[in-house]
């Protein structure tokens, strides 16, 4: 067993993800073609929709903000050896925590309410991940299945609250009352205006900066702290973790709660940044997008931010596309997600093996 030749950094970090992505897009293009539309035209419509005008760019980054939160959530759990599919439910509960915080102190102090809302979102999201995490750690109950069940339960719980105790007084829709005035995260276009220039960035708001801070924080935690080291050891080899004096139970629970907290913070962008009320279905599957984003981004925060922007563009471009091409609905974007997860997450070897062969071939030729 000779030491395996490692691929150069750029091939590993850029070439392979790009190939995986291209493969996923190729299949997606075939589907568009099968739907009787021109894939290239669709592509140009999407690019135009996502980047062609100021508000489009704003929306692209607005969606990307959601995906940074949910992508980081998946990756923190993944580094601890856990597959957290429960981002959707954790985001819902995060939204609930946020809303409760807002109504609790919103009338007293908007600033305090915003701060408490951030804490509430993370805390409720984390708490919703606690039970699956605990059951995995203590009882070996498969976290994939339990977190999915918790998505269904969260959805039913939210539905109940929004037609019951939390429903807008006198309202018919499953939504809460509007947040009190001033309890929101500032839109960036307003911030730009204050700084003296105009950029119509739509709903893009301060949560985008919070998301970037979270990405930096996750990177620092995973690769620069002892806690992150221990978390990664647990994720790679539980026996070795015990040998090194690390409590696998404790680490499993904490990692899942951090993961849930990050997913929970998605509500900051959707609710506190834009909707200013709690909606029954505000998560719209963004929790699942996090899986694709995490795999596409190689579970590294930098990659996740890039992948989130790509998916942001897909969502925004896809919305424009659905407008122009009646055969293509937003469901189509869900298909692309699935394909990206498949190619980037499960079919790594499809391109890795040939690329390694090519590199070996060239390095041998150079040696000879």
């Amino acid at each position: 067993m000779a030491a395996q030749k490692k691929l150069p950094f750029w091939a590993d970090a850029i070439l392979l993800p790009t190939l995986n992505l291209l493969a996923a897009f190729l299949v997606s293009g075939l589907v568009i073609w099968g739907l009787g539309e021109d894939p290239l035209e669709a592509l140009s419509l999407m690019v135009d929709g996502a980047f062609g005008f100021q508000e489009g760019v704003g929306y692209t980054f607005y969606y990307a903000t959601n995906f940074v939160f949910t992508g980081l959530a998946v990756s923190v759990a993944y580094h601890a050896g856990l597959f957290n599919i429960g981002g959707e439910g954790q985001a819902m509960l995060g939204g609930l925590g946020l809303t409760l915080a807002v109504f609790l102190v919103g009338d007293v102090s908007p600033v305090l309410a915003v701060l408490l809302a951030i804490v509430g979102a993370a805390a409720f999201g984390g708490a919703w991940a606690f039970i699956p995490a605990y059951l995995q750690a203590k009882r070996g109950s498969h976290v994939v299945i339990t977190t999915i069940m918790f998505n269904f339960i969260a959805s039913a719980l939210l539905a109940y609250l929004l037609v019951g105790p939390l429903q807008r007084p006198g309202g018919q829709m499953p939504e809460s009352a509007d947040f009190p005035d001033g309890v929101s995260l500032m839109h960036l276009q307003d911030l730009f205006a204050m700084m003296g220039f105009t950029y119509e960035s739509g709903p893009l708001n301060l949560s985008a900066l919070i998301a970037v801070l979270c990405a930096v924080g996750v990177w620092f935690m995973l690769w620069r702290t002892r806690f992150g080291y221990e978390l990664r050891v647990v994720g790679q080899n539980q026996n070795a973790a015990r040998y090194a004096g690390i409590s696998v139970t404790r680490m499993t629970v904490i990692a899942m709660m951090i993961s849930g907290g990050l997913a929970g913070m998605m509500g900051l962008n959707e609710l506190l940044g834009e909707q200013l009320r709690l909606l029954g279905n505000f998560t719209l599957g963004y929790g699942f997008v996090g899986i694709a984003v995490a795999f596409m981004g190689r579970n590294h925060p930098v990659g996740i931010v890039l992948a989130a922007m790509l998916f942001g563009a897909l969502y925004q471009g896809g919305a424009e596309l659905a407008f122009e091409m009646p055969n293509i609905q937003r469901d189509y974007i869900v298909l692309i997600q699935g394909l990206v997860i498949l190619f980037a997450g499960a079919m790594e070897h499809l391109f890795r093996d040939p690329v390694e062969r090519v590199f070996r071939h060239f390095s041998e030729r150079r040696a000879a």
């Binding site: 039970i131 009882r139 109950s141 899986i291 293509i328 189509y332 869900v334 298909l335 699935g338 997450g345």
Partner: protein
Amino acid sequence: MEFFTDMILLMDSTLRTATPLVLAALAGLVAERSGIVDIGLEGKMLAAAFAAAAAAAVTGSPWMGMLAGVGASVFLALLHGWVSIAQRGNQIVSGMAINIAVAGLAPTLANFWFQKGGQTPLLGDEARFSTITLPFADALADVPVIGALYSELISGHNLITYLAAALIPLVAWMLYKTRFGLRLRAVGENPEAVDTAGISVTLLRYQAMVIAGVLCGLSGSVLSTGLGGGFIRDMSAGKGYLALAAMIFGRWKPVPTLLACLLFGFVDALQGRLQGVALPLIGEIPVQFTMMLPYVLTVVILAGFAGRMDAPKASGTPYEKDH
């Protein structure tokens, strides 16, 4: 007497809701016994439900629907097999990817073909597997107890439910009484032993995936052409995961898995009955809470009876020949 009738009706709908579960659970069982974890049951079910409804809507024949449903499911099973066997990919990730991709593809195609917002048209009676009245059911209906049991509970299900009832012993027989079953069970426990005995691990696993695909295809078909009358968005509603939980609860054995599915079916039937009913002491339970029941039950079951002790030892790990 009214209680008795109520119970019969409850049991009757238990059998109905348990049908897709037990078929999917058996699919998961065959796959895992061969060493491949199949969390993609959900996606295969949904794909089959859509394909069956679409084909039935176009051809007017539930049989063509079933064929299309099974075909779609087998295709996805082979894809998952290829990723797991040839690509040595992460089986959980692959399964999830298939689930998500189907959740996007099925409504896209439905919209393209039928322009009904991601659904198929409502199927007419001739395009569905209608309920089958067993011989003498009407004649016996008036006989006390037995008559009701026979005509209400046993009789009056759709074809796939009866097919499922026949498939359970068939799968059990295949696993425990045939050469193929012996090899299948062996490959999930110790693929190296199978390999050195001169049997192809790869072929066995693909065979298992085809069987799983067929079973899961039937499961999806019954959703849209047996129990329901067409495909609607997300109609599998987590049943694929419930089936996996039932299989784990049933310790990877056919008969206990069947019992677990019946339990799930019962809870599902019960939640249907509880809607809008005022219970003593508690009062009326909000519908959202009764809907949670199967999901809460799954978590409780996994918490209480999990443990990988009984799982096939090699399940989830790709087999690599060393050379």
